[in-house]
């Protein structure tokens, strides 16, 4: 328990098991949905779930529980919760936990474990999951006494959601779950308030006033820190152009004036060239990820850096910073805007240069041929779905095409595995997002490789009638790997052929999910309409050209100005 926690007296309670205390504490914290899969060492918790207000979503693999909890958190703004048993149940969560860690998503993962008396004896389904997950959690707690369950759960929720969010693991040995206690102590954690560093803000404002070519570099921390509105106000008030990381797309609407799109490996030419020319980067909630920077030593070579971040350890980690502003983003950005308000910036030539280049180098959608052109399809479906559109992306070429071509009006509309790049994320993420926001038009954008990694979750879609729309872009290969083998490994195509994929329409139908196929460009408009109009879950199996590549591309080891373009 952190020193700031305040012990809240509770009425005298009748004895309860640790498992029942877990459930009642989750209820008290406002949890509505938990994703999980039962097993031997978590059975007392599943017994206690019966009759609770919690809605348990039975997935078909624990990895999907963690991914769904992650997307639920991203879409709802709440803490996502998943449950698993010991041993293999717990280890199956690992990729999902790592995903939440890399993208700073607040989830609480609750695992059962063997009884304390046999811990350390290699008991059946015993794994030191606390030890295994240490590098990929924000924090973890092994509860050793039933009386400690409420405090542990509340502490886990507080840590997961506060500051820079992340995953927290709670490991519950079986004897703790079944042990009885009359204690039911809750704690309330005050929100930490980091005072705005006005001196640093003033230095940041000075740096911006002195700059001729300032550029906003938006990271996922803006969305996570609930600083979207202040950032938009800052961008509008100053007119400074902006570039976005993958996880920040939509923070400034992708079609807003001055929004140059994504930077980095598959970023737009307008974004990458602006970064290379900028004399000041104003970085908000970003961590200079290598996919964004390319060759770090040559990234933004003319720029000084002003860096705002809640996580002080990210400032100066990879790129020297001239002005560091560690703390809460909303207050910091608002203070910066106020500092700059009296005097308009004189950056019209720079704004014009960025806008003209973005216009000149923008994407085209007139590719020849009769086959489906995935970029045009993705642009069209995002526009057809409107402001309710939420993309739950898997990982691969389709993910990059979605980032480049979809219209995102808000950051919560783009749910993607950014830091970890975990194939298989899309379908369970779509389930989590739709359950968090039933009114949203949630479209899973998947490739044939990643879709097969969690294809079993079609059963979850059907069981709960989750009206997710699946856009399955099938190029019968591991497209991004194939592209790299083509470009950087002398066309030595090694283990990327998936031409023996199953018939995905029949697979979906076997799970009881409506499905149809789009094979030709002329079928796209009607296919999008059918997919979006379906009452329940629906899958559109889209055949695309296996030779299609994602362009532009910054080759490995090159700087972001050295972009390759396709034919």
């Amino acid at each position: 328990m952190t020193a700031s926690a305040v012990r809240m007296p509770e009425p005298a309670a009748v004895p309860k098991s640790g498992a029942r205390l877990l459930v009642s504490t989750l209820e008290r914290l406002g949890v509505e949905v938990v994703f999980g899969y039962p097993g031997g060492a978590i059975m007392p918790v599943y017994d206690a779930l019966t009759g609770s207000s919690l809605r348990h979503i039975l997935v078909r693999h624990e990895q999907a529980a963690a991914f769904a909890a992650d997307a639920y958190a991203r879409r709802s703004g709440k803490v996502g919760v998943c449950l698993a048993t010991s041993g293999p149940g717990a280890t199956n969560l690992i990729t999902g936990i790592a995903n939440a860690m890399m993208d700073s998503v607040p989830i609480v993962c609750i695992t059962g474990n063997v009884a304390q008396a046999v811990m350390g004896t290699d008991a059946f389904q015993e794994i030191d999951i606390l030890g295994v997950t240490l590098p990929i959690v924000k924090h973890s707690i092994l509860v050793r006494d039933p009386a400690d369950v409420p405090a542990a759960v509340e502490e886990a929720f507080h840590i997961a959601a506060s500051g820079r969010p992340g995953p927290v693991l709670i490991d519950l040995p079986k004897d703790v779950q079944v042990g009885q206690t009359s204690e039911d102590i809750g704690f309330r954690y005050p929100n930490a308030v980091v005072p705005v560093d006005h001196d640093a803000i003033a230095r940041a404002a000075d740096a911006i006033r002195q700059a001729e070519r300032p550029l906003i570099y938006v990271g996922g921390g803006v969305k996570i820190g609930r600083a979207v509105d202040p950032l938009r106000a800052f961008a509008e008030a100053t007119g400074i152009p902006s570039v976005s990381t993958l996880n920040a797309l939509g923070t400034i609407a992708t079609d807003a004036p001055g929004a140059l799109g994504m930077l980095g490996m598959h970023g737009t030419r307008g974004a990458n060239e602006a970064v290379q020319e900028a004399d000041l980067l104003i970085v908000f909630g970003a961590r200079f990820d290598d996919r964004a920077t390319g060759k770090l030593a040559e990234f933004a070579p003319h720029a000084r850096v002003v860096h705002f971040d809640i996580d002080a350890s990210e400032i100066g980690k990879l790129r020297q910073t001239q002005v560091a502003v560690a703390g809460e983003l909303p207050a910091g950005i608002s203070a910066l805007t106020a500092h700059l308000a009296p005097t308009p910036l004189r950056i019209d030539p720079w704004m014009m240069r960025c806008a003209t280049r973005a216009e000149r180098t923008g994407f085209r959608y007139d590719a020849p041929g009769e086959g489906v052109y995935a970029p045009a399809l993705l642009k069209a479906i995002s526009e057809a779905a409107g402001d309710d559109f939420v993309a739950a992306c898997d990982v691969g070429q389709h993910q990059m095409w979605a980032a480049q071509h979809c219209r995102f009006a808000k950051p919560e509309a783009h749910i993607t595995s950014g830091g970890l790049g975990a194939m298989g994320f899309g379908l369970p993420a779509g389930i989590g997002a739709k359950l968090a926001d039933p009114d949203a038009t949630v479209v899973v954008i998947a490739g044939d490789g990643g879709f097969m990694m969690n294809v079993q979750e079609l059963a979850t879609l059907r069981r709960y009638d989750v009206a997710v729309k699946i856009l399955l872009l099938d190029n019968s290969s591991l497209g991004l790997v194939r592209q790299w083998q083509e470009l950087f490994f002398n066309q030595n195509y090694s283990e990327v052929d998936l031409s023996d994929n199953p018939d995905f329409v029949r697979v979906a139908e076997a799970f009881g999910v409506e499905a149809f196929r789009i094979s030709r460009r002329e079928e796209v408009t009607a296919g999008i309409a059918r997919l979006l109009a379906a009452d329940g879950p629906c899958l559109a199996h889209v055949i695309i050209d296996p030779r299609e590549n994602v362009w532009p591309l910054v080759p490995p080891g090159k700087n972001n100005a050295e972009m390759m373009e396709g034919a």
Binding site: T2, G131, L134, S162, P190, D311, S313, K317
Partner: protein, 85 residues
């Protein structure tokens, strides 16, 4: 160049493992380690050395500051924003 970190860690499961794992994972060798019970927890003195010149001890310190149950004694270091109440 070797730096010595002066730390205090609680008795929670995994605390020491969490600390050592972080230091090594972030690219530092641990050249010396001493641990003593001080009643309230454990005092740790850890000598660390970056694997290459790009490893910044100040960044490592701020990363350690993010761990729960760990206190770093570094008079010149500002507290991590997540830990300021």
């Amino acid at each position: 160049m070797t730096r010595t970190l002066h730390l205090h860690i609680d008795r929670a499961d995994g605390s020491l493992q969490r600390l050592i794992g972080l230091v090594e994972r972030r690219g530092f060798h641990i050249d010396g380690l001493s641990l003593s019970d001080d009643g309230a927890g454990r005092r740790v003195e850890m000598a660390v050395r970056g694997r290459d010149v790009a490893r910044c001890p100040e960044t490592l310190g701020r990363q350690i500051d993010k761990l729960f149950g760990v206190t770093r004694f570094a008079p010149s270091a500002a507290p991590h924003p997540e830990r300021v109440v």
